[in-house]
């Protein structure tokens, strides 16, 4: 049985599981609500049932593609467990809050496509990812903000009461604290605890910012609001949870200790690690595993930690990766000597699990941020030209191995020069970001989207047929043409032309991209605002 068959069987199981998950969540919601409604105290047996139900979901949801839900269930399970262990009777509001949280999970189920390592299906018919929901609360001036964010492709709604917030279930809450009392907006955010918060204020002082931090803000802006900056922050906030786990390469000849570190990092922070026992395997490990950080034992047979660190630093590709020594060496001077050679920091063994996890997570996060900033285009947050080209090559060779089909799409905004000339470069940038956002929202998580040049974009769509790719891009083209762009008083529409090519027709990455480019050029020739498929173009001989 091939990998593909296995994946097909797993996909079928996933469908069954999704159904069961919905039922299980409903049962748990009913149980929590029933307990909350009771006048008398809650008996431990009832809580135990609830805990077992949550435990089942915590253990299984991730395997079937719902890792976030699994994590939530785990948190709720721990809460119930704490209640059981402390033998303090839970109050009705506590249980009712649990019911609400379960309800949120259940609602999100409809909108959460399972996240799969390897997608099998193309785009479901008419299927588009749910747009990011933004709730806006504040004075009338917020109407303009709502409009501007809608223009960027977010689903935006002004909401003023807890009921409206509960119904809207926004991913991000934008709150104008200048025009509201703290009590009124906090009553609303309390019903959507998972939503990220951006607070707007008339006061930009240190104290106001500190207050925002204490109010749980994830972003803070002062009036008049810099809308593009706010949009950037918003995008950043909602894209965070999609990150892959951090990856750590552990080089240590004490395999048992290294294995303990690996398990600890996995268990405490979901960090993926690979253990390398022999220093000579480190370059292969780096290439294959592409870690965010390397932990290096300082004393290893045949090659010391600092020697190995210098050796890694020979290669420019690994300059960005922090190299952290793990050592029993507590002598500050000798630590300094090691750091002077190469390496970024020291962790002294024995180290507690908590300290190890905290140190590694913080550095891996920083390293990931840096890598992303380097690989991403500043204006759009999309992948830069060299990186997207590399992804096309990776995808191309992957499809050659697996026989699956992937598509490459070249997109170019029509008459972009005249937009710049008529409305100025600021508006041109705004149009580019508008399209970038739309692509991000409409394509699947597994798709790669890059900014190829000025007003040119490339998308790589793994496990996607030519027809599905064309249809998906066609729908995006229609939506984009309908979006209203605003420049001062003027309202105008912009279109794009696109070309699509399949890995089945072109087996070389360069030729594939050229084919998509040719098809896009044909779309331009054919009158713009259209999508052409590369098999219409002259095929390669």
């Amino acid at each position: 049985m091939s990998d593909e068959d296995v994946r097909t069987r797993l996909a079928a199981l996933r469908v069954q599981y999704a159904e069961r998950l919905g039922n299980d969540l409903q049962t748990l919601i009913a149980q929590a609500r029933e307990l909350a409604a009771r006048q008398r105290s809650v008996e431990p047996a009832a809580l135990e049932t609830l805990r077992q139900g949550l435990h089942r979901i915590a253990g299984s949801a991730g395997t079937f593609g719902y890792p976030a839900l699994g994590q939530e269930a785990r948190e709720m399970e721990l809460w119930v467990q704490t209640v059981l262990e402390t033998a303090v009777a839970p109050t009705a509001p506590m249980l009712s809050a649990l019911g609400d949280r379960l309800c949120d999970s259940y609602r999100r189920l409809d909108t959460q496509a399972p996240t799969l390592a390897e997608p099998n299906a193309g785009y479901p018919p008419g299927g588009e990812e749910r747009p990011i929901r933004v709730g806006v609360m504040g004075a009338d001036a917020c109407g303009a903000l709502e409009q501007a964010l809608s223009g960027f492709g977010y689903a935006c709604r002004r909401s003023a009461t807890p009921d409206e917030w509960r119904e809207w279930q926004p991913d991000v809450a934008v709150i104008d604290t200048a025009s509201l009392s703290a009590a009124s907006w906090q009553a609303c955010t309390a019903v959507v605890p998972g939503a990220r918060r951006i607070l707007l204020s008339a006061d930009g002082s240190f104290d106001a910012r500190l207050q925002a931090v204490r109010d749980g803000a994830d972003g803070f802006f002062t009036h008049p609001v810099d809308v593009p900056a706010l949009e950037r922050r918003l995008r950043h906030l909602v894209s965070q949870p999609q990150q892959d786990p951090y990856r750590v390469l552990i080089v240590d000849d004490d395999t048992e200790l290294a294995e303990h570190f690996r398990l600890t990092l996995k268990a405490a922070a979901g960090i993926e690690s690979r253990v390398i026992e022999h220093p000579s395997d480190v370059l292969r490990g780096l290439r294959e595993f592409v870690p965010d950080l390397v932990l290096i034992d300082i004393n290893m047979p045949g090659c010391s930690g600092p020697e190995l660190a210098r050796l890694i630093r020979f290669d420019d590709d690994w300059l960005r990766i922090p190299l952290i020594y793990l050592s029993a060496e507590s002598d500050a001077q000798r630590q300094a000597q090691a750091l002077a050679q190469a390496g970024d920091d020291f962790l002294v063994k024995p180290i507690s699990d908590v300290a190890l996890t905290a140190a590694v997570t913080a550095r891996a996060q920083r390293s990931r941020q840096l890598s992303q900033a380097l690989a991403r285009d500043g204006l759009t947050g999309l992948i830069k030209h060299p990186a997207i080209k590399e992804l096309i090559e990776i995808e191309q060779s992957r499809t050659q191995r697996s026989g699956a089909e992937a598509c490459v799409v070249m997109i170019d905004i029509d008459c972009f020069k005249s937009i710049n000339d008529t409305y100025g470069h600021g508006t041109g940038d705004y149009v580019i970001r508008l399209l970038a956002n739309l692509l991000r929202q409409r394509l699947r998580r597994v798709d790669h989207i890059g900014r190829y040049g000025g007003e040119e974009f490339v998308a790589v769509l793994p496990a996607c047929s030519l027809d599905n790719a064309r249809e998906a891009i066609e729908r995006i083209r229609e939506s984009f043409a309908q979006l209203e762009c605003v420049a001062g008083e003027a309202v105008f529409h912009v279109t794009f032309s696109a070309g699509v090519a399949s890995t089945l027709d072109w087996t070389d990455a360069g030729a594939l991209l050229e084919a998509a480019d040719r098809a896009m050029y044909e779309a331009k020739q054919g009158g713009r605002n259209q999508v052409r498929v590369a098999r219409d173009a002259t095929p390669q001989t």
Partner: protein
């Protein structure tokens, strides 16, 4: 060292049972038997003599650690290595499951494509412990 071939999977969740079966049988080429609870695992293990038991920690009825203790009491199952599987992931818990005689701990959710190789890795290291 004898290769890992026969695995008894003890798990009360039927969906997880099914995925693990595909993961171990189809991907890993192993022979798998499944039990829904600790009690039936005690009987099945004695009769089928698996190379390894993959044991869920939290099950209704007898839980995983208790099942392990009873396996160790039975002559026929005393020597069969056990790997725990659990969604509980505090580092001290992992140590705890090892200290009570588990070979190692596999954390849920697991990746069906790599579960078999994960078990084999643990299996191959078992004599070093």
């Amino acid at each position: 060292m004898q290769a890992l071939h026969r695995v008894l999977h003890v798990e009360d969740d039927p969906s997880i049972q099914e995925v693990a079966r595909i993961a171990l049988e189809v991907v890993g080429g192993m022979q798998v038997a499944s039990c829904d609870d600790g009690q039936s695992a005690l009987e099945k293990a004695a009769e089928w003599q698996p190379d390894l038991i993959l044991l869920d920690v939290m099950m209704p009825g007898i839980d995983g650690p208790t099942t392990l203790a009873r396996l160790r009491e039975q002559e026929a199952t005393r020597e069969i290595p056990v790997i725990f599987m659990t969604a509980k992931v505090q580092p001290n818990e992992i140590e705890h499951y090892r200290s009570i005689g588990g070979l190692d701990v596999v954390i849920k959710p697991f990746d069906p494509m790599t579960l078999a190789s994960q078990l084999r890795e643990i299996w191959e290291r078992k004599d070093e412990r």
